[in-house]
């Protein structure tokens, strides 16, 4: 359990966040504060707006109402702010989204070199260090297409970490993986959590939530329906919809 890492500095603030796709009100009055070092797990039925919410944080999706502040930087029209926020926020996708035409190492050094203007030597040394941490330094010169799903996802995590982010967003990082590969990715994420990274994870891996989460958030219909620390959340869910959801995913 890692419930003592959080400091008082706010890393992510969502205030009255609202978003529409055309007429469709996909996010309704979302309020969320994440302190430095906190780990948040977000769950909820498919289509409830989990991805949309965390994608608003690094402006992959545009919100229409409310405020987003990341690492003290307000997310607004100013392209400079968006760039600054993206430097502080790493993201891991369900389908890895590695660059298939580049080797693993090139995937990892690309952003440090082009966005942070880091010298190549330094970027490569740092990338090798991080590949070591996700336990695939020997794959550095291969192309993503030659790796297994679990390996690709670990590369994707390393690639994000190469930018030295303050916050990591995970959007269902294990749901596209074969069952035998889920653990290797979760292990990397757990290690990252114990090192004090601020994390927002959309996931249905309840074991992971129980081990590392400071808070679990349940979303339904574009709203945050319930929020609690993991023990209470799983053993004593307040809301009827939370109970239904938990009974469905914990059944088997």
């Amino acid at each position: 359990m890692s419930h003592s890492q959080a400091s008082d500095k706010l890393m992510v603030e969502l205030r009255d966040l609202n978003k529409w796709y055309g007429e469709f009100h996909v996010l309704k009055n979302i309020n969320l504060e994440v302190k430095q070092g906190e780990k948040i797990v977000i769950c909820g039925p498919s289509g409830s707006g989990k991805s949309t919410m965390i994608r608003c944080i690094n402006h992959l999706e545009e919100h229409q109402k409310g405020d987003i502040v990341v690492s003290g930087i307000p997310l607004n029209e100013d392209i400079k702010n968006i760039e600054a926020i993206r430097k502080e926020v790493g993201m891991v996708f369900q389908h890895f989204n590695l660059f298939p035409h580049l080797t693993v190492l090139e995937n990892c050094v690309l952003a440090p070199i082009w966005v942070k203007k880091m010298p190549r030597k330094e970027a490569e040394a740092q990338a090798m260090e991080l590949l070591e941490r996700v336990k695939i330094p020997d794959q550095a010169l291969k192309y993503p297409g030659q790796l297994s799903g679990g390996q690709q996802q670990r590369v994707a995590i390393a690639r994000s970490l190469c930018m030295n982010p303050d916050v990591m967003l995970f959007d269902e990082p294990t749901s596209a993986l074969d069952p035998e590969m889920i653990k290797e990715v979760l292990d990397v994420m757990i290690e990252l959590a114990t090192e004090g990274m601020t994390m927002l994870c959309v996931t249905h891996e309840m074991g992971f939530a129980k081990t590392v989460a400071d808070r679990v958030i349940f979303m339904d219909g574009g709203q945050i329906v319930e929020e609690n620390e993991p023990h209470e959340f799983f053993n004593n869910p307040q809301h009827e919809r939370t109970q239904l959801f938990l009974s469905q995913i914990l059944q088997h």
């Binding site: 760039e83 389908h95 989204n97 298939p100 690309l110 082009w114 297409g145 690639r159 930018m163």
Partner: protein, 362 residues
């Protein structure tokens, strides 16, 4: 039941020699056998006389039509006019300049095609940026004491190659910009690109060439003479870039959204994202389409004969009019066709090889 480890065996021999292969592929059943025989009969009855006419009964050397007595093809005709086919009316003493330009071109292409040669990127950059300038001054002269050769003397295969290479080299970057513009979220940029592309795609190249040679001069101040070849080149390039833009747009659309999102999430800017992530992947997908438009362009260059430029086909037609050689147009058309075919076929093979080289297993 007991589980036993099964031995690994070689595959059964399915083909036993030539006979076995023929039985399996050509005569495996009555319909296939009949088809083989019928097609074989027509192939032989067409190919034998053709080969006889082209090679066996043909006359190759001599200096007038009197040398053509064997009843086959009269290659003497082509032989006598080979210089014109290759160089047009380019002064004979200066042919070495055309040859140098050609050797530089072919040399760097071979360098790029060979699998083991180093520094391919540098050679490609030189070919795209430095070579056009060098080739222009080599061909045109008026520098370093090279005699000026006006463009109306350029002709034959060398003119065809100038038209094609300039059209290809200039239309690719222009096409990329147009395709990106068409995808842009800025309404003005987007509509300018859409209008440009749709206008050029909606008119035949012949019209473009006519307009380039007749209308373009009207837009320029009086007395400013504008080279006819240059006008044709501008027309061809703009025309070609509109087609290129559509091929490239197709490639861009095939790149998954996740690639854009990963690049955005890492903080890459628009041009970094396009140049480092999207374009390399899209260009790879587009190689067949790009080469197809190149091949079409290469063949379309022959249309310049209608505005009075003497490309290799126009030279062939002019040769057919020569009273001394009346009656040998089959030979000249065949020869021109062969030249076109050699270049187009090479392009197509090169593109296949490039696709294999760039394959990274996904």
């Amino acid at each position: 039941m007991k589980y036993e480890i099964q031995p690994t065996l070689p595959p059964p021999a399915s083909m036993v020699g030539v006979i076995g292969w023929m039985r399996k592929h050509l005569f495996n059943g009555p319909i296939n056998s009949v088809a083989t025989i019928v097609v074989g009969y027509f192939l032989i009855s067409f190919l034998v006389p053709t080969i006889q006419w082209i090679f066996i009964d043909a006359d190759w050397v001599g200096d007038s039509r009197d040398a053509c007595t064997s009843g086959g093809a009269c290659w003497v005709f082509i032989n006598n006019r080979l210089d014109q086919f290759l160089y047009g009316f380019y002064p004979e003493a200066e042919h070495w300049r055309v040859q140098t330009a050609f050797i530089l071109l072919i040399g760097s292409i071979i360098w790029l095609v060979m699998p083991q040669t180093p520094k391919k990127g540098l050679v490609a950059a030189l070919l795209l940026v430095v070579y056009p300038v060098v080739a222009f001054f080599l061909l045109y002269g008026d520098i370093f004491g090279l005699e000026t050769v006006e463009t109306h003397l350029w002709g034959g295969l060398s003119l065809t190659l100038v038209l094609a290479v300039v059209g290809i080299v200039a239309s690719l970057p222009l096409g990329i910009l147009l395709a990106l513009g068409r995808q842009s979220e800025m309404p003005i940029v987007k509509s300018v690109c859409v209008i440009f592309i749709e206008i050029w795609r909606g008119v035949p190249l012949i019209t473009v060439l006519f307009m380039a040679s007749v209308m373009l001069p009207l837009f320029f101040p009086e007395g400013m003479s504008f080279d006819k070849l240059l006008r044709a080149l501008i027309g061809i390039t703009l025309f070609q870039s509109a087609y290129m833009a559509e091929v490239i747009r197709g490639g861009l659309q095939a790149i998954p959204k996740g690639q854009y999102e990963a690049a955005d999430a890492l903080g890459l800017g628009y041009w970094q994202k396009m140049i480092l992530i999207i374009m390399p992947q899209a260009l790879k997908l587009m190689i067949p389409g790009i080469v197809n438009t190149f091949i079409a362009l290469f063949k379309d260059t022959s249309l310049v004969l209608i505005i009075g430029l003497f490309d290799v086909l126009a030279i062939g037609q002019a040769a057919n009019q020569d009273p001394k050689w009346i009656g040998y147009s089959t030979e000249s058309y065949l020869f021109v066709a062969l030249l076109f075919w050699v270049f187009c076929f090479s392009m197509s093979r090169y593109s296949q090889q490039l696709e294999r080289q760039l394959h990274t297993g996904h």
